[in-house]
Symmetry: C2
Subunit: 218 residues, 2 copies
DNA sequence: ACAATAATATGAGATATCTCATATTTTCCC
DNA sequence: GGGAAAATATGAGATATCTCATATTATTGT
């Protein structure tokens, strides 16, 4: 993790203005920092010292279960808060957040700002909206996982993540996100290939029959 | 749904004081109301007019998917907010909430109070805490569903819901909560019975081997 | 008290998904 | 450029879970 100094700090502060999320001048408290790809923003079980606001890049939030299996809870993309649950619930310890790409974020020191933040209606309102969307997203994702087999969810996933009829997500990420084993994901990719819905191409898949995918995705 | 009048209204307002959740006097705005068992508090897809604070009873929050299947997202027990997502996100429509028992709640009219609520740091702070716990609960539940087979989750469920070594939840509710089919739940109950971990008794099950359950629940 | 509805029960067969083993290819680091 | 690590692939076999069909037993409303 690297803390940016002027003039870079200021460059990011003006590129992503966040003062409007607060009713007091927040900039003096903010550190702009960057994490390399693969770096941990929070270790699992740590007590976060900063509230982060992610402005560039992508990270994943996950949890390790007692049986050793890992669940990806959600991909985090800008703009998003990280560590907010720990700001609100005194003794809560964090889940793991690891970056997927290089990540830039604004860090707000919790100790110094807690009082101000927890009495700032503007900030709290933004946080409420963020939290309610997070709850909605997570519950939507998981109830779908429960109710649709992978072929339907994968069809939907291909449609939203494809760029111009070309799907090129990593299987390792896709199976984590979709909550299935790597093996099973490949089974279903093979099935979609066999029925001619998609076709493998250098480093990805071409969408051949979009309407079939749309039908599967419902 | 029935709106309570004095003196009952006042009885509930003093039994469950909620003024401390707000920084302004909320009582004048509040209607105390009761729903019968099985009644809908929100129909799926409706635009809620009230923010409810549940003080007595139990309800379930669920969603119907396009394929007709229904997912129970969570059981709601006092104290809890209902309709808060709709207060925050202008045009959001609600999921279904149906009571499981008779329910008493405080109703706050959204149109009249929205402005006041959304600028009240005290209320917003409570709402943030509530929302973050909701997000945490839901994601914990669903990641567990994904990672543990039913026998483990059922063992945990029996342990938390049993009263003095006697489990007596309805199978119909348990399978909805655990996110599996009724048939499969019975398979697993049969398995626990065969191995002598639990034993069927009039209208419920007796826990015979608690340590086995604890081990399964990990 | 009776009819309607909800809850419990069980069988048979299908399918979605997982585990483990192993091989090849690609990407990344120094 | 070479070795390590990550990602991709594929097979074989197991198991968790679902669907549908059909009975029986409780509960509830009137």
């Amino acid at each position: 993790m690297q803390i940016l100094v002027e003039p870079l700090r200021n460059y990011y502060l003006s590129k992503y203005p966040i003062e409007s999320l607060f009713s007091f001048p927040i900039t003096p408290y903010i550190q702009v920092c960057q994490f390399e790809r693969g770096e941990f923003i929070f270790q699992e079980g740590s007590y976060p010292e900063y509230l982060y606001y992610l402005v560039e890049g992508k990270a994943k939030l996950y949890v390790t279960h007692e049986n050793g299996k890992v669940s990806l809870i959600n991909f985090l993309q800008a703009p998003t808060f990280m560590g907010e649950i720990e700001l609100l619930n005194e003794e809560r310890i964090s889940k793991a957040i690891q970056t997927v790409t290089k990540v830039t974020c604004m860090a707000i020191p919790i100790q110094t700002c807690k009082e101000k933040l927890l009495t700032d209606a503007t900030f709290l309102r933004h946080l409420c909206i963020f939290l309610s969307q997070k709850a909605t997203t997570i519950s939507a994702k998981y109830t779908e996982n429960q109710v649709y087999p992978l072929i339907n969810r994968l069809a939907a996933f291909i449609l939203v993540s494809a760029d111009q009829d070309f799907y090129k997500e990593k299987h390792t990420e896709a199976c984590e996100y979709l909550g299935v084993s790597y093996r099973h994901l490949l089974h279903v990719f093979a099935k979609l290939g066999e029925e001619g819905t998609i076709k493998k191409h250098s480093g990805g898949f071409l969408i051949v029959d979009r309407s079939r995918l749309q039908h599967l995705a419902k």
